[in-house]
């Protein structure tokens, strides 16, 4: 009896160990990963602030993988847009965000989806982090009916819930953002508005008008200057008498931080959001970042800066590499796992590009629609007096 039991148990154990071994090996792999780690992050330069964001950031494995995936998605999406533009499938303006991914991803992790955000024209990354899908972003770039704005807006005019674009006029989005913040305060909903602009826009008069009113009325507005060192082809030294953009708010407290480190951006955004939500009024953040592409697709980006400079940033400060190195060296993920994410992202981008190139263009009946909201249908004059086109809300 005992012998039989021994044989049976051996058989069972054998099969168990066969399956169990696989399970145990995988479990051992995941159990091996560090669930979270604390990283030292660079200290922020402070303006009119007694203390700044913490000098350490806690990153969980899940967060790390999510940030990695999102940044990689933005990166690959922008590179695909570059490709499609060169194939003339995307036309007009196309301002690419590769290199600056840590800003969009870091900011979003510091706020809630119920908060508000507005930026200028380098907006594809933000459209994604604010809830847009790669498919609808790419289809908007190719001007198809499946685009996030049905093909009517293009690269610079993409909108989602609580994301007010995508704005083509340099600096105009800043007063708009303060207006959104005013609405948040008026409605008492504890929401804030993140209002982005570049180093080029930072010299716009309407921004200073906005600083004044936001401060006077204590609007819950985080002004963020994405300083990528060049306003189109003009370096910051040639455009601004003071390149300390985080101080240009004068009476508004400011922070300057490394915009290539997603954890730095996250911690600073959390700090800034807390400042606004506590009723202290606006705050200003300067993110020091870099764009690998030129200003837009019609700018090679090498007439005003050296290839060496671009290469140096790529090798020493790339936001995705930085996060990857951190996670790998702290055993928070494996090389294979990250490679798998890369493959998935690549596939997502390919599918989206496929959709964006095959989806039909908007129907001509849509030409005159969306002029007015909540209005009865009306007639719009065509190109000649005999052509009367229909417009619905």
């Amino acid at each position: 009896m005992r012998k039989m039991l021994t044989i049976i148990s051996n058989v069972l154990r054998g099969s168990a160990s066969r399956n169990g071994a696989r399970v145990v090996v995988s479990a051992r792999t995941y159990a091996d990963f560090t669930p979270q780690a604390t990283f030292d992050i660079k200290k922020c330069d402070l303006h009119k602030l007694e203390e700044g964001p913490p000098l350490q950031a806690v990153l969980t494995r899940e967060e790390g993988l999510q940030y990695y995936r999102t940044m990689q998605t933005i990166r690959r999406m922008e590179l695909k847009a570059d490709q499609l533009y060169k194939q003339k499938i995307i036309r007009g303006f196309c301002h690419l965000y590769d290199g600056q991914e840590a800003c969009a991803v870091g900011i979003e992790t510091g706020i809630n989806l119920s908060d508000h955000l507005i930026t200028a024209y380098r907006a594809h990354g933000y459209t994604l982090t604010r809830g847009g899908t790669v498919r609808e972003i790419m289809a908007e770039l190719t001007g198809r009916r499946g685009g996030i704005a049905k093909g009517k807006g293009g690269s610079m005019h993409m909108y989602t819930k609580h994301f007010y674009g995508g704005n083509g006029i340099v600096g105009a989005q800043v007063p708009l953002g303060a207006g959104v913040a005013l609405a948040c305060k008026y409605l008492g909903n504890n929401e804030i508005c993140v209002c982005l602009y570049g180093d080029g826009a930072a010299n716009q008069g309407q921004i200073f008008e906005t600083y004044n009113m936001a401060s006077l009325w204590k609007l819950p507005c985080i002004f963020i200057c994405e300083n990528n060192k060049y306003g189109m082809g003009t370096s910051v030294e040639r455009a601004a008498a003071s390149t300390d953009y985080y101080k240009r708010g004068d009476f508004i407290p400011g922070l300057r931080l490394d915009g290539m480190d997603v954890l730095c951006v996250r911690e600073a955004t959390k700090f800034a959001a807390e400042h606004c939500r506590s009723g202290k009024g606006p705050i200003l953040m300067e993110l020091q970042t870099y764009r690998y592409h030129g200003h837009s697709m019609s700018d090679p980006g090498v007439s005003y800066r050296t290839r060496e400079e671009i290469q140096e940033v790529r090798s020493k400060s790339d936001p995705i590499s930085m996060l990857k190195d951190r996670m790998l060296s702290n055993n928070m993920a494996s090389v294979e796992e990250l490679k798998e994410i890369d493959v998935e992202v690549r596939k997502e981008i390919e599918d989206a590009a496929q959709f964006a190139t095959t989806d039909p263009e908007p129907p001509l009946d849509d030409l005159c629609n969306h002029i007015f909201y909540n209005d009865p249908p009306m007639e719009v004059r065509g190109t000649n007096p005999w052509t009367k086109l229909k417009s619905v809300s």
Partner: protein, 348 residues
């Protein structure tokens, strides 16, 4: 005894005219008050609108009643506060943005056109902008070139905007209420010289729900011989000219446009098909103006075949507005200019 009766009649007379006559300023004030009361999301911002009671006293009493949250004094930064107003509209409020005069709106015109007017279209219907931009437009008295421009044609040019130009107190009240309730950007062109003018206000117009439709003109005076089309203060001049001409047996049909965009071309065409003669009258400059648009539409539409004479425009003189009274008076249409043009058109 006779005296007591006389006094009674005098008071009754005063009471009757005072009761039913309202100035354009007060009509606008009523409209603002009623809409602020009706909808929590409506608020007014602009220079001196709150504690000063309004540069032209249009917002008198509102700050006292509604407070700092709903009536906001801004610094002198048009581009900034117009942008803030548009952003607030995007985020769900219903702002009324006052420009002290529309001359200053040029500083903010990018926000009106590129941020407000075009956004609903660019977003394919995702982002409406329910905002009203209002303030005095056009010539005043002695304020010279930089403060006298008419912007009806500038704003009337742009798709995505509605542009309203009231004349009477009823126009002012009904159209402003409609503009505030409209879910789209509306440019509301008032006139400083009209603010103090009293008009009879019907019972209907005194109701809190009195609305006038945007995009519909009104025939202020019926006539058979010539159609006079006008907006804002010039409607008064047309009616005065019509009264003079009537004595000579010429009956003018006076159309008050009420709205610049969308233009009520149908009302004008119907009238022209009856009178066979058209004259537009405006205070603004002639080139590429409101009158130019009306004439083009008549050319392109069914009313052309009914014209017995070329349609013409009476406009402001094509110069910056001078200061000296004699020069200013001769820079804008006068009643005699309208009468002269009517007689030329009718060949009498």
């Amino acid at each position: 005894m006779f005296l007591r009766h006389a006094v009674w009649y005098y008071h009754a007379f005063l009471y009757s005219i005072l009761r039913y006559h309202v100035t354009v300023r007060d009509a606008l004030n009523q409209a603002l008050d009623e809409e602020l009361e009706r909808d929590e999301r409506v608020f007014l911002l602009g220079e001196e609108v709150a504690q000063y009671d309004g540069a032209y006293k249009v917002s008198r009493g509102l700050w006292k009643k509604y407070g700092d949250k709903r009536i906001i004094d801004t610094p002198i930064t048009e581009m900034g506060f117009a942008g803030i107003a548009v952003g607030a509209a995007m985020a769900g409020l219903r702002p009324i943005c006052e420009f002290m005069t529309f001359n200053f709106s040029m500083q903010a015109i990018d926000q009106v056109i590129n941020s407000a007017a075009k956004t609903y279209y660019m977003s394919a219907g995702l982002q409406p902008v329910p905002i009203v931009f209002r303030g005095p437009n056009g010539a005043s008295a002695g304020v010279a070139a930089q403060h006298s421009q008419c912007f009806a044609a500038w704003y009337g040019h742009c798709p995505g905007l509605k542009v309203v130009s009231p004349w009477s107190a009823e126009d002012a009240k009904g159209l402003l209420k409609s503009a505030i309730r409209d879910d789209n950007p509306v440019v509301f062109l008032e006139n400083e010289l009209m603010y103090g003018v009293p008009f009879e206000m019907s019972e209907e117009a005194q109701s809190k729900d009195f609305l006038l439709p945007i995009g519909k003109a009104k025939i202020e005076r019926q006539g058979n011989h010539v159609t006079l089309v006008s907006h804002s203060r010039m409607v008064s001049l047309c009616l005065d000219a019509a009264a003079v001409l009537a004595k000579e047996g010429i009956e003018c049909e006076v159309i008050n446009m009420r709205t610049i965009r969308p233009l009520d071309a149908e009302a004008i065409e119907t009238s022209v098909m009856k009178t066979n003669h058209l004259i537009t009258v405006e205070g603004g400059w002639p080139q590429f103006g409101v009158g130019a648009e009306i004439l083009a539409r008549i050319m392109e539409g069914p009313a052309f075949n009914f014209l017995d004479a070329p349609a013409v425009r009476v406009t402001g003189v094509d110069i910056p507005m001078p200061y000296a009274k004699i020069l200013e008076d001769n820079s804008i249409p006068q009643i005699k200019d309208i009468i002269f043009s009517v007689k030329k058109t009718l060949n009498v």
